[in-house]
Symmetry: C2
Subunit: 147 residues, 2 copies
DNA sequence: GCTTGACCTCAAGTTAAGTTGAGCTTGTAG
DNA sequence: CTACAAGCTCAACTTAACTTGAGGTCAAGC
């Protein structure tokens, strides 16, 4: 049977909640893929819905598109990903996520005690112990910090 | 007794671990403040060390400079902040941090189960329930998403 | 008293993640 | 068969958070 109709960009945008321009952008970045109709229009398989969903969720917690791209690259392009494929992705991020969660907790719980007590001025404060890979790739340029 | 010597930008940069240019930038943004010597050079009180430390920590967990600025504005400019001042800041961020932590956990714990099970394609997935205020102010332009 | 390394200012460049717009093509509903 | 919405491409603009560079000033050592 036919694969329940493929999606146009517009439809994908609707259902995923991201702008068409963003989808184009993701595709240019290699995060999602489409094939073209005879008239050069994009058609997306249903699996891209999931991909886009992941992209959004991951982004919301501060993972960069670059990192998301690397993770998504582990998913098979051709077939619909199996549970094992997702597992791979999941475990790949787990450590980074754990670290980030730990830092957030420290910030949340530590603000009063730790900052209030003055230890933050020095570098031995637990809050300042980064080693956080996920968070490090922030927004702007940061050539100088390059450890 | 004299206040144990104030810091030059260079010294502050050293001790805080952020570049001089970044310190200038923060000052322009109103996140830190300095007074000038007769020769127009910046001198920082020791309390800015803490401020900068907070800025860094908060940034690492994805809080924007704008939000950090708002929070820091609650700290007194003149005197060294008391424990109560820090408490105010801490509780102001608590909710947002809690939400963010929850989302990270969901992503961490949910990747395998939730994504693997296919529910993410639809909008009823728990992962897709955002309402996250801190994360929403992401990086780029996002006029269209403006809810 | 001069040199050399910190500072200063201001403008322009950079990266990420998109958005906006112009100009042109497709496809579908009347 | 003709509108007109939806697509397409490509270039330029946007925001955040800085960095880099040019051109000039300060200050501490020799």
């Amino acid at each position: 049977m036919a694969p329940i109709t493929e999606l146009t960009v517009g439809q994908l945008a609707m259902r995923s909640g991201v702008a068409v321009s963003a989808l184009h952008f993701y595709e240019a970045r290699g995060l999602i893929r489409s094939h073209r109709t005879s008239g050069n229009q994009r058609r997306y398989g249903r699996d891209v819905l999931r991909r886009v969903a992941i992209i959004k969720v991951a982004q919301e917690v501060g993972i960069s598109l670059a990192e998301i791209g690397i993770a998504l690259a582990s998913l098979p392009e051709g077939r619909t990903p199996t549970r094992d494929d997702w597992n791979l992705l999941s475990t790949a991020w787990r450590d980074g996520l754990d670290r980030k969660i730990a830092q957030l907790k420290k910030l949340r719980d530590g603000l009063t005690d730790c900052i209030g007590c003055g230890c933050m001025s020095i570098d031995k404060c637990p809050l300042r112990n980064k080693g956080d890979r996920l968070a490090r790739e922030g927004t702007g340029a940061r050539r100088l910090v390059a450890t």
